[in-house]
């Protein structure tokens, strides 16, 4: 009989004890001589032993199952802690979750059966109080271990939901388009709920509420894919509305672009207006300069064309040369 688990403090020596008791009883019976009455007390001990070994076998099986389940739970906890934004082992986690759930329910029913069996046997056989206390202790211990395993499972699930929520928030922080995807299943569920028949809409929340809260995101998608009847018509309705919404968004974005282009046009034109003003000033300066130069030249022309001083100066110069010429010749 293998030990129940590594961390159990109970070691099952019942079988050895029973073997010794049987030997003692046999020797006692052999003293009394084989008799038909003696064989009868042998049978109840044998059947008692058979029951006891049956009980022990089942208890050990249950303990082994609990040990395996707690190991799987440890693996699941590690996966849930390890999960990051992009590298989400969702499929594995979901598989593990379902497996662990099944194991726990099976172990639960097995423990209940074991308890029932021990109670019935104890009532029937009138075995010593030691055995009864031993069996009740064993059953209680198994129940406690199962309960702790279930609690750990629940903790792991809450941890996983919190992680998912944190990831969602981070994803929403970084990109607004990605966040539409997780919310789209919920948006799509509303037209489903309003337009599809009551049965399908009632069916989809129910298994969702009953199932684990972890799979909340993927299960509505599964439910959607399972509703085949309404699925044909609603996406057409959806795509019509969506195409209208898309066209409206296109129009709105075009109008935005147009407004920005108009703004740029206004900026360009105002800059060019300033350039035009500068050109105008330059031209006015030029006109003023040319007019001044023209006036100066006119004055010069006047002074050249009407100079009386020049006549007198030329006459004096001629007279001077005449004098000199007369002096030197005459």
């Amino acid at each position: 009989m293998h030990a129940k688990s590594g961390n159990a403090s109970i070691r099952d020596r019942t079988q050895e004890f029973l073997g010794i008791a049987e030997r003692v009883k046999k020797s006692y019976c052999s003293q009394n001589g084989p008799s038909s009455s003696g064989s009868k007390p042998e049978e109840p001990p044998r059947s008692a032993m058979a029951m006891q070994s049956e009980f022990n076998r089942r208890a050990s099986k249950i303990g082994f199952g609990i040990h395996q389940t707690s190991q799987k739970l440890a693996k699941l906890a590690k996966l849930a802690k390890r999960t990051s934004v992009f590298d989400d082992p969702t499929v594995e986690i979901q598989e593990l979750t379902t497996v662990i759930k099944q194991d726990i329910t099976a172990l639960n029913s097995a423990v209940v059966d074991l308890q029932f069996l021990s109670n019935s046997r104890n009532e029937r056989e009138h075995i010593s109080t030691d055995t009864t206390t031993h069996s009740t202790t064993v059953v209680d211990d198994l129940k406690n271990r199962l309960m702790s395993a279930t609690k750990e499972f629940k903790d792991v699930l809450t941890l996983r939901t919190e992680n998912l929520k944190v990831h969602e928030n981070r994803r929403q922080l970084f990109s607004s388009s990605v966040s539409k995807n997780p919310t789209n299943p919920f948006i799509r569920q509303r037209p489903l709920a309003s337009k599809s028949a009551a049965s399908t809409s009632a069916a989809s929340p129910l298994p969702w509420a009953n199932g684990s809260q972890v799979d909340g995101e993927s299960q509505p998608l599964l439910q959607q894919q399972q509703n085949q009847q309404q699925q044909q018509v609603v996406p057409i309705q959806d795509s019509y509305m969506q195409s209208r919404a898309e066209a409206l968004q296109n129009v709105e974005s075009t109008i935005h672009e147009l407004s920005s282009i108009f703004n740029q046009l206004a900026t360009l034109v105002s800059q060019q207006g300033e350039i035009a003003i500068r050109i105008d000033e330059n031209m006015e300066d030029t006109v003023a300069n040319v007019e001044g130069a023209q006036g100066a030249l006119l004055k010069y022309l006047n002074s050249i064309s009407s100079n009386r001083w020049l006549m007198i100066k030329i006459f004096f110069v001629l007279v001077f040369f005449l004098m000199i010429f007369l002096f030197f010749v005459a």
Binding site: I261, F262, L268, D285, V290
Partner: protein
């Protein structure tokens, strides 16, 4: 080239009985003279089947041979359109919406009592068929989008010409500043020649 082949308005009674034609309009000019009868039969049959299968308050598009049949069932009156594949789906449904509204305005609730196929023509439907061959007519959104696109092209051209104008204005500014500098030199020289020849 998008094309509407036919428009039908049918009364869809609840399950079981065949829908009844309230109005129809078809453009069978693309078919030869002898094929028109069979094509018309085919259209009637397909429209009855599709409108029978369309649940109330729903829109549906079915691909049949080379036609797309769009049907819209509203309160028991079903509007159907036979279009080819290129006709945008959204315009088709907005067109069917308009047809239904028009029918509701014209005939009110009298369609509820009709028991047999209506053989008389409804002129609105015929003119609708010719007018809506161009999907932009039917769908205001498409028209607005198209106009916006044209406006955008025109605006782009405007901006290009404004940029050219900017370049020309820049060269003008250069030239005018050169001119003003030259005229200033001219003025100074004129003043100088005037000043120095007072002696002679």
């Amino acid at each position: 080239m998008v094309k509407i082949t036919a428009l039908y308005v049918m009364k869809c009674s609840p399950e079981g009985s065949d829908p009844i034609i309230l109005a129809n309009a078809s453009d069978l000019s693309s078919f030869g003279f002898f094929q028109r009868g069979s094509v018309r039969e085919f259209l009637v049959f397909v429209s009855r089947t599709v409108s029978k299968r369309t649940p109330p308050g729903q829109r549906q598009s079915v691909q049949h041979a080379e036609y797309k049949v769009h049907s819209y069932n509203r309160n028991g009156v079903c509007a159907l359109g036979f279009m080819d594949d290129h006709y945008p789906v959204r315009s088709a449904f907005s067109l069917l919406n308009q047809v239904l509204d028009e029918y509701q305005k014209n005939f009110g609730d009298s369609w509820k009592t009709v028991q047999a196929d209506n053989a008389e023509q409804w002129p609105y439907l015929d003119e609708a068929l010719t007018r809506f061959q161009d999907p932009a007519e039917a769908d205001k959104l498409l028209k607005v989008q198209r106009e916006l696109d044209e406006t955008k092209i025109i605006i782009h051209k405007t901006i290009d010409s404004v940029l050219e104008r900017g370049v020309k204005l820049d060269s003008l500014v250069e030239k005018s500043s050169d001119l003003s500098a030259a005229s200033q030199m001219f003025y100074k020289q004129a003043k100088r020649t005037n000043q120095c020849c007072t002696v002679l």
